[in-house]
């Protein structure tokens, strides 16, 4: 059997992932600073190719005060049921019920209080309630997969949901995303904005996934994986996961007094 050169296989993608990882290791060896974030252009993730800027970002060494402030949210922006994704419909969604909790902090470790956390995820079969998701897995009439809450005085968030399933996507042939929950977070500065994804420990799909592997720094990548915490599990009810989040941002946001 000869390989069809028109079909982008996992082997090709995996080789590119490996190449990027080795290039990064080489950079570190030559004294480069560790890079916690993915490069904007990362070829194994094919959608990035035509969508990432090729020019270097223009560094604003002295952000304006407006950029060091940010949108605020309050009790009117959420409702009580928003943080429980299992109670938003008439019936219960299918799947492994779980609670995810954690603390949102800035790089000085100060809690990010009263800010909005938004999440979205596939259902337990790996299907999004979205028109364009064509994965032939069942929709769950009792699950939209959307939640939001405000962080408390310690910067904590908590969601009750079900564990999302892995799902196929069309990056390459036989591409499957590891199970994940999408997170959107606001800090006290617009420049601290973060959209990211939380993964589950021990997922065998990690090494095949160009989106997770776009974080070429191994320690940084491990920060995207939640911890199973038995003390957070509740008897006869739900499994508990902990995932803490640290928002990046210009140095000026670390020394400015929190509001």
């Amino acid at each position: 059997m000869t390989a069809n050169p028109l079909v982008l296989t996992q082997d090709v993608i995996s080789a590119e992932i490996d190449q990027a990882r080795r290039a990064y290791a080489e950079e570190l060896k030559e004294g480069a600073e560790p890079r916690p974030h993915p490069a904007r252009g990362y070829r194994p993730y094919r959608s990035s190719v035509a969508r990432h800027p090729r020019q270097p970002l223009v560094v604003v060494g002295d952000p304006d005060a407006v950029e060091l402030s940010g949108p605020v949210f309050g009790v009117t922006d959420i409702t009580d049921l928003d943080s429980d994704l299992t109670r938003q419909h008439l019936g219960e969604p299918l799947g492994e019920r779980m609670q995810v909790t954690g603390r949102v902090a800035d790089r000085d470790g100060r809690p990010v209080r009263g800010q909005l956390v938004e999440i979205w995820q596939a259902n337990s079969a790996g299907r999004y309630a979205h028109q364009r998701d064509q994965h032939p897995a069942p929709l769950d009439p009792h699950f939209t997969g959307v939640g939001r809450c405000l962080t408390d005085d310690q910067g904590r968030y908590t969601f009750t949901t079900i564990k999302p399933g892995p799902y196929p996507w069309r990056n390459h042939l036989n591409a499957w995303r590891p199970a994940h929950i999408h997170f959107s977070l606001f800090g006290t500065a617009f420049t601290q904005r973060l959209v990211t994804q939380m993964y589950f420990p021990g997922d065998p799909l990690f090494e095949y996934d160009p989106i997770l592997q776009s974080v070429t720094d191994e320690a940084a990548r491990s920060r995207l994986v939640a911890t199973y915490d038995h003390s957070l599990s509740s008897p006869e009810w739900a499994l508990g996961y902990r995932w803490d989040i640290v928002l990046d941002g210009p140095a000026a946001t670390w020394i400015e007094e929190g509001r």
Binding site: A50, H52, S69, I78, G109, S214, V246, A251
Partner: protein
Amino acid sequence: MTFLPTPSQTVGPFYGYALPFTGGGNIAPAGEPGTITVHGQVFDGAGAPVPDALLEFWQPAPDGSRTGAPGSLRRDAVTGAVVGRTGVEFTGFGRVATDADGRYVLRTLPPGGVPYISVCVFARGLLHHLFTRAYLPHLTDPATEPLLRSLPEHRRATLLAVREREGVHRFDVRLQDDGVHEETVFLAFE
């Protein structure tokens, strides 16, 4: 001691029930005199419109206050539906998903104290969001604005909205040079 940041990941294509909200582009209260429209399209490196981008906007109130206000996503406590901003406080925050033709429309009040609206771009294919600024031409003196002064003419032009008519400005976002149009200047804050 500093803590290590959580890495960014793409917003992906399926944020539709989670992030956009009704009225997300209407920062200005309905009927407010002096409301301006900023609109445009997002394009990729092939010059094709990006139909699944999400743009966020942040700006001071016309009086220059930068504190914002809660209530951008104000919800009905009974149904959970978005009921819109109160129109009394100026929240300063907008969020718009591009349509099938890559278009967005923002209706807002002119920012006070700075001549621009801060923009944050998310999309499938962007592993890390992009920051830029939409400078409003009638408020901007490029000769005194430090960021604009530091840029060569052809790069600077990508940050300046284009006045179409009174109160209506066009600001396109080009994620990459498509061979004809210059790539938008994107910013890193240090």
